[in-house]
């Protein structure tokens, strides 16, 4: 499984990344992408800015371990994970996960698991700045439940 992980404060173009990923594929019949964007309205009304912090080195290692898990569960041709950190505004892309496999089920499930992990277990800390000032966000109960779906398998 070819893999690529990038954590960066620079904006990225999801579709340019997906296009380059697709061009690199040799025998995959299906490609799944998830793009996460800053929602203009957050937990606390209108959001003017979002900030993401990570722990350089440890966050990347955690994602690489998730990818080891993914590689052991499914037969994938390639996986791409891009996660933005730093300050960003409404509608800006935060995260991109792309997976490709011979048949579609593996690509769907791997992208789904990676997003569950990234949302609830990867070392990122998110704050939203709105009318009430800056608020640190914690995963929703739904995020923990989503991630727990993969534990028994």
């Amino acid at each position: 499984m070819r893999r690529s992980v990038r954590i960066s404060p620079l904006p990225f173009d999801p579709e340019a990344e997906i296009a380059a990923f697709r061009q690199s594929l040799e025998n995959a019949g299906g490609m799944v992408s998830f793009t996460g964007m800053v929602r203009p309205s957050g937990q606390d009304g209108a959001v003017s800015a979002l900030s993401l912090q990570h722990y350089p080195g440890m966050t990347e290692r955690g994602i690489e371990e998730m990818l080891d898990d993914v590689a052991s569960r499914w037969s994938l041709e390639a996986v791409l994970v891009i996660h933005r950190v730093g300050e960003m505004g409404p509608h800006e892309p935060i995260v991109l996960v792309v997976t490709a496999s011979e048949h579609r089920r593996a690509a769907f499930e791997a992208a789904d698991l990676l997003m569950d992990y990234l949302k609830s277990r990867a070392l990122f800390w998110k704050s939203e700045t709105g009318a009430q000032g800056r608020v640190w966000i914690e995963p929703r109960d739904e995020d923990y439940a989503d991630a727990a779906r993969w534990d028994e398998r």
Binding site: R61, I94, L118, F124, W125
Partner: protein, 82 residues
């Protein structure tokens, strides 16, 4: 000198993400939280919350683990990516 890192809302309470601490001998993480609590009760009680995890040099450890003077100790509150 040990490097202390405070992520997420803990950084707001600590007044910054980084802080140095001179450890003349190894201390358990819980002892270090006690030292920080003596200077700032708000920070100390936030660090002691059960959902806060600890990492030494990038590896998750429990509160009994000893921190040495060259170590990097990180306090990790609940995460929220993507």
């Amino acid at each position: 000198m040990a490097q202390l890192l405070f992520f997420g809302r803990l950084g707001d309470l600590a007044g910054g993400i980084e802080r140095q601490m001179i450890l003349s001998q190894p201390h358990a993480i819980t002892d270090i939280i006690g030292l920080l609590d003596a200077g700032d009760r708000l920070l100390g009680s936030a660090l002691a919350e059960p959902r806060v995890r600890y990492a030494i040099n990038g590896a998750i450890v429990d509160g009994d683990t000893l921190v040495e003077d060259e170590d990097e100790l990180a306090f990790l509150p609940p995460v929220s990516g993507g």
